[in-house]
Structures are given as C-alpha cells and as structure tokens.
Symmetry: C2
Subunit: 344 residues, 2 copies
C-alpha cells in the first residue's frame, strides 16, 4: 500500500506549480495546451485523484445530497430515491442515503451528520405525524442546515407555509384519493370501504380527506362503519376486510389507501369466496410494482415517484433569490387495470 500521491507530487513530476495542476484539474481556467498535457500525463502516471475532503475544505461545497427516509425497500421510498439518485448524478452530486425507521432521534442525528458533511441538500421523504413538535423540529433543522450552507427539502409531505425556510415538493395526495373515489362513484358504487391509515399521518389524512370530498361531491353520505384505520400493512388490509365481511358490512367497493392493504383485502375477499371485481371492486394507492402483478391486476393511483425525487434535487441545487423557500405540487393519475367493475 503506497502512500497516495498529492497534488504536489503531480506538480513535481510535471515540472509545474501546484496551482497549475489545480487549474487543469478543475478545467475552468486558461492553461497552455502543452502544460495541460504534461500535467495530465503526470496525473495518469501517478494514478492521482484529488482528495475530496481537501477540496471541500478549501472551497465550500461538498457535492453531496442527502436523502433521509423511513427505509430503503418500500417501493414508495425506493422509487423516490431512484429519482433523487438520478438527478444527483446528473448534477454531479453524490447521494448519501440514510434511514430512520420512524425514529425522530435518529432523524435528528442524521441532520446533524449532514451538517457536518456540508451536504448541499437534505431531503426528508414521506408522510409524518403532524404536530407542533414536528414543526418546531423542522424549523431547527432548516435553520441549522441553512447556516451550514445546506438546504432542507420536504418531499412527499406538506409544506410548512410560505415563510418556512424549506423547499417543499409534494404530490396531490388528496387529489389522487378524490379521483380514486370518484372513479368508483362514477362506476355506480355507493357503499365504499376506505381502508385508511393512522390518524394524524399527513399522507393518510390527506387520502381520507380526498375520499370524503369525493363522497360529498356525489352526495353520498360517509358511513363511519366503512371507514377503518389501521397500519397500512398487508395483514391490516386482510384483517380489516375479514372483519368487515364477518360483521356483514354492506359494500360493493374498497378504496385501499395503499396497494399493500389492497393486496391484503383481495386475499381476504378471495378467502371469503368473493370475486374481484365481480362481487367487489377495489382500487389501491401508490401504484407499486406489485399492482399489475396481482390477480386481477390492481387499479391504483399512480404517483410521480421519480419526478418527486428529481424535482427535490433540482430545486435544492438551484441558487438565487428565494430559491430557499419554494413549493411545488405534482399531479397524480389513476392507472386503470382490472379490479374495478361498473355496477350495472
């Protein structure tokens, strides 16, 4: 293991000064043609690579974008991560990925680490439990990051207001739920189960809200017995549907607030001898890769996952007036498949 060469070694071998080496390396400075080639040859000869830390210390930026999410395997997060990674690469940035598994302490720790790293941006992804503590925490994050020259991006979660020093990139969560419910309603369904998530969670609150508004628009009263809250796992979908069935609940359609719960519901329906979509129509949310694989293929609300990630990075990297507090909302659409049947 040889000691790795520094810019001085390159300068010595090329017979020029370190400044010149630095210049040909960064590229954006006039250097005589043959000086340049001399340096480049020396670089190749020594297999020299710059020290990113020294560079970051000397200049300012670290060329790193940090991504903070619940986990890395849930398709929702994985696809957003994909968009972030893609855009980061395109912008010559590296992508640091951290997971919290829902632990606020871990999140705090990560934000601190990102300040240490001087990340260009810190992107917090996904729904949260919205309350004062959360707001306050985000405010501290935003300030701390701002001091470090970073910026905070809220991705897939609501904005904290136009004066809040963070960038927000969200999707039309409630709108998607509205569209999904309307789709069912337009097909003649009136007794529609909502398989919802934890109360207080921004993601599932918004989906419930969309459901409510669509029902209202069609002048269909919401039957509280058909609105359930649980964690959004497969098992929860299964369990809740089974419970509804056992209780003899009267419904012809299910709107599951995510695909996983929809899959669980389909399993429960099948186990009970009900056929989808003949007996019960069902629509999911998130349009995860599993949706088209289910049988029947699941109609679901499609989210612009990758676009969310890409936009988050793009906005975070764009400098200039007020670039630190923007808000964009991306659209959703229904991916129609085979799990919804018109009534009559």
């Amino acid at each position: 293991m040889n000691k790795r060469p520094t810019i001085r070694d390159v300068a010595a071998l090329a017979g020029v000064s370190v400044a010149t080496v630095s210049r040909v390396l960064s590229g954006d400075y006039p250097v005589a043609g043959n000086t340049r080639t001399k340096v480049q040859r020396a670089v190749r000869e020594l297999d020299y690579v710059v020290n990113a830390h020294a560079r970051a210390l000397s200049g300012a930026t670290s060329n790193v974008v940090a991504l903070v999410m619940y986990d890395v395997v849930t398709p929702f997060f994985a696809h957003i991560a994909s968009g972030v990674e893609y855009q980061a690469t395109e912008s010559d940035r590296l992508c640091l990925v951290c997971t919290t598994h829902g632990d606020p302490d871990r999140e705090l720790e990560i934000v601190k680490l990102m300040r240490e790293q001087h990340a260009d941006a810190v992107i917090l992804v996904g729904g949260v439990l919205m309350n004062d503590d959360y707001r306050e925490r985000m405010y501290r994050y935003a300030k701390g990051l701002e001091d470090a020259g970073s910026r905070l991006v809220l991705c897939g979660r609501p904005s904290l207001g136009p004066d809040f020093p963070a960038i927000t990139v969200e999707y039309d969560n409630a709108g998607g739920a509205y569209a999904a419910t309307s789709h069912l309603l337009s097909a003649g369904h009136r007794r529609i189960v909502l398989l919802g998530g934890p109360v207080g969670n921004t993601t599932f609150d918004a989906r419930l809200d969309g459901y409510r508004r669509a029902m209202e628009a069609f002048r269909v009263p919401v039957d509280p017995a058909l609105v359930v809250h649980d964690d959004m796992s497969q098992d929860a979908g299964f369990r809740q549907t089974q419970r509804l069935l056992a209780a003899g609940a009267d419904f012809t359609a299910i709107f599951a607030a995510n695909d996983l719960a929809a899959a669980g519901a389909m399993r429960a329906l099948r186990a009970a001898g009900k056929r989808v979509p003949d007996d019960v129509s069902i629509i999911g949310y998130d349009d995860t890769p599993m949706a088209p694989e289910l049988f029947p293929a699941l109609t679901s609300v499609h989210l612009p996952h990758e676009e969310l990630g890409r936009t988050a990075v793009k906005l975070a990297l764009q400098r200039g007036e007020n670039s630190t507090r923007q808000h964009v909302m991306l659209g959703t659409h229904i991916a129609m498949r085979d799990s919804v049947r018109p009534l009559i």
Copy 2:
C-alpha cells in the same frame, strides 16, 4: 445566514484552547470535568458541529461506505442496500449509494469518486458479465482503492480467487437453483422448463448450472428446447412461456430464474387457460416481496439479501491480518408456497 462557527469560536467562548475543544469532542482523551462542561456548554450555545471534511483531512478516515449497484428499486438490490445501510449505521458510517444501470464507464467513474472521498469501503453488488476485461478492471479498482485506504467488496458475485485483493460475500446461487430444481424433481416433475437469463452473466450461469446438476443427479436428460435465455423481465417470462406453449412444448413445471419472469410465466399460463399449480407447477428465484402476493403465492428460492449487505460492511470494516481478502458464502433456502403441486 450566519457564518457557521468553527472550533476556534468554541474555544474562545469556553475560554480554552482549540486543542482542548478537539479533545472533549473526540472524547477519548483525559480532560478535566469542569473544562469539559464549559466546552460542551459553548458547543450547545453556538450550535456547533464539526466539519467532517476538516476532520477527514486531518485524521484519515471518512466514515463513509459506498454501495454501487445496478439500480435502487429492484428488490434484489434494495434489500441488499437495506442490509448495508443497517450495518453501516451500526458501525457509525454513512452510506453513499450509486447506480450504474449496467454502464461500466459509470462504474469506473464511481470508483474514482470513491477514491476521492476516501470511502472506507466500496461494495459492488450483483451479477456481472464475467470475462478478462472484467477481471482486469476489478484488479485496477482493488489496487486503486487499496492505495486510498479503502477496500473493495464483491457482493453477490463470484470471488476472483484467494489471491485477489478484494473481499467477496456471495450466496449459494447454484445451490439454490439445485434445490429448486430438486424440489420439482422430487415432486415427480421431469419435463421442467428453465427460464434463464443472459449467457455469461455470473448470476444466471450459476442458476443454470444448479438446474443442470439437479437434473443430472436425478438422471433426467436436459431437453435444450426447454432451456431458454432472455433478459429476466416480466415480459420476457410472458413471451417465452407463450412461445413454448404455442410451440406445443411438453412440460409440467417451470423453474424461472427470477420471480419477475415467474410472474410473467404465470400470466402467460393463465392467458392460455392453464392453471397453476394444477396444470403447471412453477418456482421462482429471489423471493421478492411480490412472490407471496401473486396468485397462487409463488414458491421461490429465498436469498439472505440483508445478511449479504451486513456481512459485506462488517468484513470491510474489520481490520487486521488478511482482512483484505476474505471470502464468505451464505446459504439459501426455498420459501414454500402454493405454486408447486406433486405429480400424482
């Protein structure tokens, strides 16, 4: 945006020297109790965080582990990434994620970037096209990384030999295929389709090999007409199965070299009016989250994804004699579900 405070500011506020501040921050050095508290108070007061680049420049290590893979959304990669991220966090490391989308140039670029970053380890994940060019490339990577104090880890791909300066963490790829095929064979199947991947790819070559060896062990001749090669997409599985069906191929079971192709095959079977497992049994590989969601739930070869990732990080971080060229092989097992039926 205030300028962020440095260690000097802390020292000044606490009325001590920067050396002392450095000492209480790193923790592992005797400092008088009240001096320590004075410093800590100043740190809190100023909301000071160390500059990771300055620290890395001064000391040596950067506390970063790099993960290089095809993409970030394929469950195979996502789950390995999860293991890496988990273990990295546990070892107080940050996790840098890069994707290549199969581009060797991009890979080369990433390895260079990681040398610049002085990453503690660079973990290359997943199957590759094995040839001399590849071997040579890896050798250069390993050497370059070694000089930078990093180490190269090959994860989910074969070792390049005991003398090769890299750590290898793989799973028993051929063994899994052997087990899967044997499972079908034991159930009385003899005419078994292999939905295989690109020739030359280490992952799919090994799976083909396991299939061959199992057939041989059962003294069942391999019918070349039943062995197909394609990319391992859903569509490929669909297409190839459809083609086989149209050609009137004689088979009672399918071993798909991944779950995606298995899903495609099931779709083709269903479209042709064949029932799984009544008419055709099927078994997949990778045991992705989709497997239990399919109908019928897919029996599949389960891989220790997370363990692969964790082990890669663990070995890479462990210092000492010969710690730079280790080789571990993790086991696989069959996740039994509903897509295989005993014949008779």
